[in-house]
């Protein structure tokens, strides 16, 4: 089966610019996640969608980050304006919902460098 697709793979922007990342989850996966992974650390959950509704966005810096999942399939994550500390790998993951023992399937990630 096709995996989680993300684009672009790499992005370099200047601080205060905006950037958007795209994710297409595995077909049939209702749950979609965006994680931020800073170099040398483990992934940190930014936002979790169930279909096209937000389940948890408690760790999303809402003053600059936004995410949407229209029609419950593809999702975009946007940063506006970007700061130097936003440099990280942004990982999208998807999973089946509502099961106790669910594993997450991750995309390759987008490596963002803010200069």
């Amino acid at each position: 089966e096709a995996g989680v697709a993300q684009s672009p793979r790499y992005k370099i922007i200047e601080k205060r610019q905006s950037v958007a990342f795209w994710c297409n989850p595995i077909s049939g996966h209702a749950t979609l996640y965006w994680y931020q992974q800073i170099l040398g650390q483990g992934p940190k959950l930014l936002i979790q969608f169930q279909n096209n509704g937000v389940v948890d966005d408690s760790q999303l810096p809402k003053d600059r980050f936004s995410a949407e999942r229209l029609k419950g399939v593809d999702s975009t994550l946007k940063i506006q304006p970007a700061k130097l500390e936003d440099s990280a790998v942004y990982l999208c993951a998807s999973s089946f919902p509502w099961t106790k023992d669910t594993e997450a399937f991750f995309g390759q990630g987008t490596r963002l460098t803010v200069v």
Partner: protein, 115 residues
């Protein structure tokens, strides 16, 4: 915020040796999962152990879980150069519902296996 800590932060061994990584966490969990991340790539699910299980095997992997100590260990036997990667533990909360999929990752252990 990160759920817990992993140790060692880095591990260097020779091919054929066993590698053991440890993970500690802080809150009640439904399950604990281990993921592998090769350089520049997304995370790949390795194994899941439920909170009512104490040990689980999958191929060359052996995972133990001690909920009283809030700790887990991952053993890779007869390691290969291809096992070189970062390994992360991730916990799923026991809160239930949509929280099942909300994974919290540790900082990771960097494993290097020398041929």
């Amino acid at each position: 915020s990160q759920q817990g800590e992993e140790d060692p932060q880095a591990l260097s061994i020779q091919e054929g040796e066993n590698a053991t990584m440890n993970c500690s966490y802080k809150t009640s969990i439904n399950n604990l999962q281990w993921y592998r991340q090769n350089s520049g790539r997304g995370l790949v699910h390795l194994i899941l152990i439920r909170s009512n299980e104490r040990e689980k095997h999958s191929g060359r992997l052996r995972v133990t879980l001690d909920t009283s100590k809030k700790s887990s260990s991952l053993l890779i036997t007869a390691s290969r150069a291809a096992d070189t990667a970062s390994y992360f533990c991730a916990t799923a909360p026991s809160a239930g519902g949509t929280s099942y999929g909300k994974l919290t990752f540790g900082q990771g252990t960097i494993l290097t296996v020398h041929p």
